[in-house]
Symmetry: C2
């Protein structure tokens, strides 16, 4: 049977994420992976979570194994509400629901507010998971370029003026894949434009806690008095991505609708993983844990930047993040980053992600690529950057 004819228009254009396909090649332990977006596995509190999981199943097993409510485990909602309140992103008019990772929050919100063929603004480049989620609801993606302090506001206004945009998707802190942080001025401007042109904003903030330099910038959600901002975050980057515990905060009315969409989608997020995350937040001070992670990532980031200074040839540019997990490298136009990455993994066993994966048009040529510094130890980072530097030097000769 040929299944092609049965596929929906929303499913037809979907392709496997290049990054996750690359993960399969990376099963080879000899590969130096600068491709992922995972926290450092050495930071996972495995002993603490082992104890917590055993306690929960022993003492509260029936609750952990039974059906739970769609909006999430009550005590975890309280704990994550506190995390949102810490960045002034939860008001008395808001609700919170727990999602199966941040990705589900983004996907559910897209299903609720993004109609077929509607114009949606995204940062160019942006997070592939959300781009694909928006593609799956048949959004018309419009990329607005990034400056060193976030989305270009003149281009954004021009777009909003000429198109009927429903939603603006942004990762204001340590953006994926650029590592760029949006300035406070631009956050205010984006909100003002959203109001002027009547759009919603989806603020994705998985990395916000991972600041190791510069000054704290308020979330867009905290500046919003109307309820235009749908705030999505998760515990993936501060505790564990594998637990799949994320959350979404927005006005109660909208949140209720998203909750129904979640009910349709997976009934509820597993109770056990929610209870484990909750108990960790109760027994330990996660801010101590985050502080340690920031020290590690700050050190690794500086180390990678130093290596790039040392090994990369003239003519290559890159971002200097104040937090998060990523650096974006931009080469002269003569470099084809897709080809570069293919050679890198095959011949040098070094993996990184070319920027076509983060583009609204994945088939467009790109001369930039994303590097991750959180997962590899420093000797591997140096080895990887040295190899990439040698390739680039060779290609630019």
């Amino acid at each position: 049977m040929n299944f092609e004819k049965y596929y929906t228009n929303r499913a037809k254009p979907l392709q496997a994420s290049g990054i996750r396909e690359m993960f399969k090649l990376m099963a080879d332990p000899a590969v130096i992976s600068l491709a992922g977006g995972s926290p450092d596995p050495d930071l996972f509190p495995t002993e603490e979570l082992s104890e917590i999981a055993a306690d929960i199943l022993k003492n509260d097993g029936k609750k952990a194994l039974a059906y739970g409510t769609t909006d999430g485990y009550g005590p975890l909602k309280e704990e994550l509400k506190k995390r949102a309140e810490k960045v002034d992103s939860f008001t008395s008019e808001d609700k919170i629901i727990i999602t199966t990772g941040g990705q589900q929050g983004l996907d559910l919100a897209a299903r609720v507010v993004v109609e077929d063929n509607e114009d949606i603004v995204v940062e160019a480049p942006s997070f592939v998971g959300t781009l694909n989620s928006l593609r799956s609801v048949r959004a018309n993606l419009i990329g607005v370029p990034m400056d060193s302090d976030g989305m270009n506001m003149e281009k954004l206004e021009e777009t909003l003026k000429n198109r009927k945009v429903k939603l603006i998707y942004t990762i204001p802190n340590f953006q994926n894949p650029t590592g760029i942080t949006m300035s406070l001025e631009k956050r205010k401007k984006m909100l003002e434009l959203a109001k002027k042109y009547d759009c919603l904003i989806m603020e994705d903030n998985p990395y916000g806690d991972l600041r190791f330099g510069g000054e704290y910038v308020p979330t867009i959600k905290s500046l919003d008095t109307e309820g235009r901002v749908i705030y999505v975050s998760s515990m993936s980057k501060i505790l564990s991505p594998g637990l799949r515990v994320g959350y979404i905060v927005c006005r109660a009315e909208l949140c209720d609708k998203i909750e129904i969409m979640k009910q349709v989608n997976d009934v509820h997020t597993p109770c056990l993983t929610q209870m484990i995350a909750c108990e960790f937040l109760k027994r330990y001070n996660i801010d101590d844990y985050i502080k340690k992670a920031c020290e590690v990532y700050g050190r690794k980031c500086r180390f990678m930047l130093d290596c790039m200074d040392k090994y990369f040839p003239d003519g290559i540019e890159w971002t200097k993040p104040e937090g998060g997990l990523f650096i974006l490298v931009t080469c002269p136009d003569t470099i084809d980053a897709v080809k570069l990455s293919e050679i890198a993994i095959k011949e040098y066993k070094v993996a990184f992600v070319p920027s076509n994966n983060f583009a609204t048009d994945m088939s467009a040529k790109t001369s930039s690529f994303r590097l991750n510094y959180s997962t590899m130890p420093e000797d591997k980072i140096e080895e990887g950057i040295k190899a990439v530097g040698a390739m680039l030097t060779d290609m630019l000769k």
Copy 2:
């Protein structure tokens, strides 16, 4: 802000499941719930799972807490493949992926194959979770009535002849909400009709293992040589619903597409819950555990049927399931089952689910309701049935 205008056409008609709303009323521990669809919590192997969870996080914690692959944890896929093979529902041309509960499998398949406004056949009545999932992809639901041995095949053929149906959704074993099992003859006929009129079949089999009477009937998937059947099952009814571990089996090409839709939806099902389920299947013989569950459910079902014989007035009819969790009760047309259920919970603290929840048109009047016998102890079952019987006797006077 009024959010109504931002909602998509797929989100607008979605309403919270009446059953899950009822769960909120049922927080009162005095309520006798014959409404749920959960396994008996006394059967949960909490001690065993506590030990397993602790071991996994202690010995393999980095894997349990890191990102996993979208298709699922490899060793669990192998274990669940064996479960599917046990009912001849996995061929060499098939693939399996792990889903966040069976619900996600049904929802992902719907997103991949059901286009806006396409005609989809469902059993009338049918499982509300799937009906809502199909509504969320804007399917045009067509209910085909049930006989005592499954969907009426004349009505099905008439429908297929007159409409362009893309998919037939069925729960052939111990159907939710009727408890009815489809005969082998009808399974063959459904497949034959699907072939003749070129439709796919979504076979939902969460209860198949829970047979306590009658003879085993082969799955529709096992009869399918072409790849028309998408087979969905889960560990929710045989181990724990709260772990949210389901799976989907179908032809590799289609499964790959569903996998991409899953990537977009929640990246992957939590690693920890998958590893726990896997380790349970490895350390213990789940068939022993299922055997015990069947004994319990068979006993409770017979007990409930006996109570109904004793307390229900003449003129009331009900199904006699050979497995699963549900009995469907049909009253004379003068009884409004929605009103009945409202009075039952408010005045008698007895909960059950009126059949409008399982209808393609939820606003239609119904005189039938679903009873569950798996969760309550026998004294509560008797108390509940006695109260419902008294109400019905009173109403039919």
